[in-house]
Symmetry: C2
Subunit: 464 residues, 2 copies
């Protein structure tokens, strides 16, 4: 394809400095945080207005140029990788929080705002945007919306989809639309907003997002509970809910996850006796400190009915920060340790002990080692499969068979193959496990409605 004439067109549309073709920029946009994948685009575009996005899309649609939208590149399923080359639409210039509507508890933001920056901005106004993926310090809110991200607080506060009221997006043909209205209740036509949330940049390019907010919560308490049995830790998760408590976080970490993370961040903050197999990190939050102490005590009593070690009760800001850092860095720590693949299984919560058993069993059978951790309160368990001593051949051929077996079990338990990371590139050939040809057919046709030429984020979600 003659990219030189395209480049000239984009330069006339955007100005030279927003059209990037140097190796450094192309390389930057060739990868994200998913494994060690690498796909070079021909051009990186950095639009800064919705009209520019519209112009780009119209042109690419006419010329059948693949366009892959990119947020911060922190994705874990390869959603931002330009697998067919072409244009990467780098949304980093859409970096403004446009309007905090304190009267209506809403914020209108551009997609290229770092999630933590958005959280801090609304917190300054006494408001709270809860969804907090582990990468919140670097990921973009637009990527969060595209993947329907979660994070530890989802267990109490819900995931991104529960906060998105309205989206401005550019369709592949260049049309600019809003998907809904800025209201808490809406029974007006099909829910385009929720169709776009989690659609992984395949239906349109998000240019504005209206989020609902809630009043800021004043206090929280954090407990780290060590268990001598990882399966019992999973069982304790459900016991807490059955007793009527809804923690604001309920995270599970296998021993290796915590140990590797401690090494990675060079922390000695947690004592890790030999006989401990797993931990639960449990947070409660609310506006009444006395009530929180009561809740924390009640939860401690519940978990102590299992075979637990000494509970660490974090009451200083520093100690809480330390524990959260350890939890948030698990992914990076495992990555630094070995080549790995990260699965994002999710099941009905009470099936967690069974899921953990199946993961380990399947690992034995197919010869892979795994480190499990994640949002146990939601039944969402990340399975980091480390290559370790596995041969390249087994890694490439035998492991995918094992993953298929695991995913089939997940679906049998009422669950599915991704809770918050999305399908993107790396899970697409497992989609036939979660959906049959009728369901996939509907999804493909919906894709075709929005993107008849198939130019937007091609090669994603749907099986080859």
């Amino acid at each position: 394809m003659n990219y030189q004439s395209h480049i000239s067109y984009f330069q006339s549309l955007l100005g030279n400095k927003q059209v990037l073709t140097d190796t450094e920029q192309l390389e930057r946009c060739a990868s994200d945080e998913t494994e060690d994948l690498h796909f070079l685009p021909q051009i990186v575009l950095q639009p800064e207005t919705v009209e520019q996005v519209s112009g780009i899309m119209r042109y690419c649609n006419e010329h059948l140029i693949p366009v892959t939208p990119r947020g911060a590149g922190t994705g874990l399923s390869g959603g931002a990788l330009p697998v067919q080359g072409g244009v990467v639409l780098d949304m980093k210039r859409f970096n403004k929080v446009l309007h905090i509507d304190k009267r209506n508890f809403q914020v209108t933001t551009e997609p290229g705002v770092i999630t933590q920056v958005l959280m801090d901005a609304v917190k300054d106004e006494g408001l709270f945007y809860p969804p907090d993926p582990a990468s919140k310090g670097s990921c973009f809110i637009g990527g969060n919306v595209s993947e329907n991200s979660g994070g530890p607080r989802a267990v109490k506060y819900g995931v991104v989809k529960d906060y998105v009221l309205n989206i401005e997006m550019v369709l592949p043909n260049g049309e600019i639309i809003w998907t809904g209205a800025n209201v808490l209740k809406n029974a007006t036509g099909y829910n385009l907003t929720q169709l776009v949330v989690g659609s992984e940049g395949t239906l349109g390019v998000i240019t504005k997002i209206v989020l609902r907010l809630i009043p800021a919560v004043k206090h929280d308490l954090l407990l780290l509970v060590p268990f001598r049995s990882a399966v019992q830790a999973c069982e304790a998760v459900n016991a807490i809910f059955i007793a009527g408590y809804t923690p604001s976080a309920l995270e599970f970490m296998e021993r290796d996850a915590l140990e590797w993370s401690m090494k990675y961040v060079q922390s000695t903050g947690v004592d890790l006796p030999e006989d401990i197999q797993a931990h639960l990190l449990i947070e409660v939050d609310g506006n009444h400190m006395d009530q929180l102490y009561k809740d924390a005590e009640a939860i401690s009593e519940i978990v102590q009915k299992f075979d637990t070690g000494e509970i660490l009760f974090a009451d200083s800001h520093e100690q809480k920060q330390m524990l959260w850092t350890l939890r948030r860095k698990v992914g990076e720590a495992v990555k630094s340790n070995s080549i790995y693949k990260e699965e994002d299984t999710v099941v009905p919560r009470a099936e967690l002990p069974e899921l953990l058993r199946i993961i380990k069993e399947t690992g034995k059978q197919y010869g892979f080692q795994s480190v499990c951790y994640g949002h146990a309160g939601d039944g969402n368990l990340h399975v980091n499969i480390v290559k370790g001593n596995m041969s390249d051949k087994d890694w490439q051929h035998k492991l995918p068979e094992g993953i298929r077996v695991l995913f089939k079990e997940v679906v049998r338990l009422g669950g599915t193959i991704s809770g918050e990371h999305g399908i993107g590139l790396v899970q697409k050939n497992y989609m036939d496990i979660a959906f049959n040809s009728v369901q996939l057919g509907l999804m493909k046709q919906i894709k075709h409605v929005f993107d008849p030429n198939g130019i937007l984020n091609p090669g994603k979600i749907f099986p080859d």
Copy 2:
């Protein structure tokens, strides 16, 4: 069309007693609770298995017979009316709560279960399904899902869409699919579940629903606050939220709404001084009674900064029941009083005072009288327009112009034309106010993906 041969086919498929063609049954299915509309079907079918629904749909799709699914017939936008005749698919035999999964806080139900019956069934297990439309004692959960219903508790607990995890449905071609998985987090493909919620029976026939539940809440308190200014009552709504309180209900009633409802149910429970223009009905709930008293007191102090009368504090079960009955019966009371049209406007919450002002202003201009009430905490205001002395000609021609003006203002305020009643038949010709041709075009094409022959609930949602 030769319906006799169709009838014979359906009799062979379902058995004679599930195929109804007598006048009484056809008449029953010719109306719902929307105004005084009347559309006769040719046949009423009462399937009782998903396979029967599948067989019916496959046959009707081949023979291009219009099919209109019907729940309890309590809809307020004419969604269940067979406007093109044909078959009414009466889902009343799908009346079983199939499985209360206490371990996972989920319930699997058929669509023809009365919402209150479902609520009671899960309550018996210590669980809570919050969405509570005014008609909860008679409406079906399947209708609630189809309309994305709300109700008073939505302000704290969200609407139906926030509880639906997974749907089994029959496509117009007879295929049976599940839309998702039984999990709290899902980033696996497009969100078909949320596309179906609120789609008003136009995409498929719902045959099973999996709902998430939350732990039962132990206590609540109820306040009725009289205001000397209706606009101030709306202003007080936002003041409560700004102060950091989230009531479990925050309902607004204009004086007429309460007065007519009191007459209708022959209640004298509420003192209604001459100078009172409106009331707020405010509920707080939680597990700690002492905290609730504190919250109720704080809210009382906030509202008393406005020009209020004496607050009624309902502390007995009977008094709470009485107040809730008055609130729930407003719709029926207005209906018994006059021919009327019910609008279902929704705006960002802080715009309520402005919305109320616009409604009254537009009424003056176009000569209509209105009684307003509804879920003020969500910005969702029901506008009951009473015919009163309006001439038939003005009712038919001038009123729709006035409604257009009102809806345009609603959209200008960031709102939309239906918060919880749906578009159905009676609002469809206002859809061009909420959406332009690009947005409507996407929705129509999505409809076409699911229902290429246009046989399922035809004549709904989209403008003529």
